[in-house]
Symmetry: C2
Subunit: 359 residues, 2 copies
């Protein structure tokens, strides 16, 4: 069971994919180490500039001869008025002041066309650099882009939060679908269904998706160990994608304060918020989330709010101030460990094998 | 694996417990048939009067010689002012009129002491009628009640939605803990953690609870078939408790419209609401839920709102009007089937056994 068609297709030895966490977590060392250990390492390029994207692809290629992948954020149309930005900035003003942050430059606030340009650039780089696997969050790229990537034999993977989204991903020609359960840390990937309808637990989501698509299903959300791997496979998944479990690894680029916060957290401290980025995401409760709670529904759309809070998060990191960092985590923080990628992956496979013997 | 210590303890052949759905779903025939088929049938007595409770216990005892159980709602303190009731009634007035419902009699509105009296009566009946297994939702009974039930060798099972709640249940002396994942249909059982913090998916909840308690764990929420049973056991559960899967069975007392609505529903139509009862619960989106959405946070506490909407739900049932029924369902409606209890249970075990062979 641990060796199925997906291993062959992705040329991996163990059905473990490292989730493409954006924002500096997926260092080249982390990505390469996962691939070298027999899994699939993934570059989280969602927030990268084109040149950062190219640099990291080249760096990972140097570090491993195994397949690896990259994840891109599919741009969603957004429009935010000047007034909305002014109100949003006013709301954040006391925090800017507290953390000694200069006024945001309105030049820095993205518009739809910047974001689309960056995405198209990234697609070109993925093709030029011959990245073997490309995964997408927040939607499905245009038919032209899909066709172009397919012509270059790049393996394409979409992210779904509901059966309806998985079916659309299959229809678009993707090779594989990642299903993101409500347990998952970081941003919700819903792009057709609304946020609330998209919060389906993996126990329900995996079998219902498996029954409705023919492409292989990868499970994501709260999976941390051999138990989660085997359970996902019992439900019909062919592999798992794990974020939080890799985030606390030695090789991850997450801030030490973030790692430590996860290692100390309990599952009932993990909440959903759209205060950081304008998109709903799951992480550890912070002072910032509490302070923003009553305004949560009115902050500007992603990625505008993300840009507005970026200096706050940067200052928090520089000052080791946990209160204002974004501490993304799935719902299983108490299963996280501080260990190397190899220790994590070996223990998962050893545990899964020993459980299978007892069946 | 399908035959573990919990089977011996509960004297069951298969590790399947039928969830104690309140409100007429758990007919004596359903309960007895589950127990006769080797599982544990459960009377959902949450809304029953003492005499109804006694009658059904006796009826089930007549129908099966196997063990069965009963579930009681642990009373929570509540206080609602006259003004709150007046506003709540005003909000419902257009629906009362539309469905030709008489004004609610203020005598019918429960107070904390009525509810506690009924619960204490039910406990006395459980002891007198020698019900072998008693499970609790919404909290932990007083030490006096726990001691009394233990003196009568009744097996005691608590319901938890978080690790913290499971640990408290273990400390209270319960023999087993049911963990209710966010996937579960019907009322949320949280009693220490808040509603939002209590929405933990089973992929995260089961292993984290198993790592923190010594008593056996039963998994509940979205489990419908052999895949869900095996997955739950991989995660560390010793048995599963299934609601929706039994609700659509021939023997269940759920309204035909309710059964049919589940059989037609998709997972992204299943939502959370407190509009029906004052407690958050999961079910199929209805016109009533939509109409009440903006007032959801202000309706009176359970069980007051439940009493106020009772005539609406009754009239809806009498008129076959799906719009105003409470259509509780877990997040896996598309896995539900119209079948007998025996067909359901046999297919689960057959599927699980055949999957285990392939491991």
């Amino acid at each position: 069971m641990l060796n199925n068609e997906i291993n062959e297709f992705l040329k991996i030895e163990v059905p473990i994919i490292q989730a493409p966490m954006a924002g500096g977590v997926t260092t080249s060392k982390l990505v390469a180490e996962v691939s070298s250990a027999g899994g699939l390492g993934m570059i989280g390029a969602g927030y990268m500039t084109p040149s950062q994207t190219r640099d990291q692809i080249r760096e990972v290629t140097q570090l491993t001869s195994n397949l690896f992948g990259i994840n891109l954020f599919v741009p969603n149309e957004f429009s935010v008025t000047k007034n909305e930005i002014t109100s949003a900035v006013e709301l954040l003003q006391p925090i800017y002041e507290q953390l000694n942050i200069q006024q945001i430059d309105s030049q820095d606030i993205p518009n739809s066309s910047n974001v689309i340009d960056t995405f198209n650039e990234q697609i070109r780089i993925v093709i030029e650099e011959k990245v073997p696997v490309c995964t997408f969050t927040f939607g499905i790229p245009s038919k032209e882009i899909m066709d172009e990537l397919k012509r270059h034999h790049i393996i394409l993977i979409g992210t779904a939060t509901t059966v309806r989204e998985a079916v659309e991903i299959e229809k678009s020609g993707m090779d594989i679908v990642v299903v993101q359960g409500s347990e998952a840390g970081g941003h919700r990937g819903n792009f057709i269904d609304g946020f609330r309808e998209s919060l389906v637990g993996l126990m329900s989501l995996i079998p219902q998706v498996v029954d409705n698509v023919k492409i292989p299903v990868i499970a994501a959300g709260g999976i941390m160990d051999g138990r989660g791997l085997l359970a996902s496979m019992c439900l019909g998944a062919k592999a798992v994608q794990m974020g939080t479990a890799f985030l606390t690894c030695i090789e991850s680029g997450a801030h030490e304060v973030h790692k430590e916060a996860i290692l100390q957290a309990k599952e009932d401290q993990i909440v959903l918020t759209r205060a950081y980025s304008g998109k709903w995401a799951r992480g550890i409760q912070t002072k910032f989330i509490q302070e923003m709670q009553q305004h949560e529904e009115i902050v500007p759309e992603f990625p505008v709010q993300n840009t507005l809070t970026q200096p706050i998060r940067k200052a928090a990191v520089a000052q080791n101030n946990q209160d204002y960092m974004s501490l993304w985590s799935g719902q299983s923080p108490s299963l996280a460990k501080r260990q190397t990628v190899r220790e994590l992956m070996e223990s998962i496979i050893t545990d899964a094998r020993s459980m299978m013997k007892d069946f």
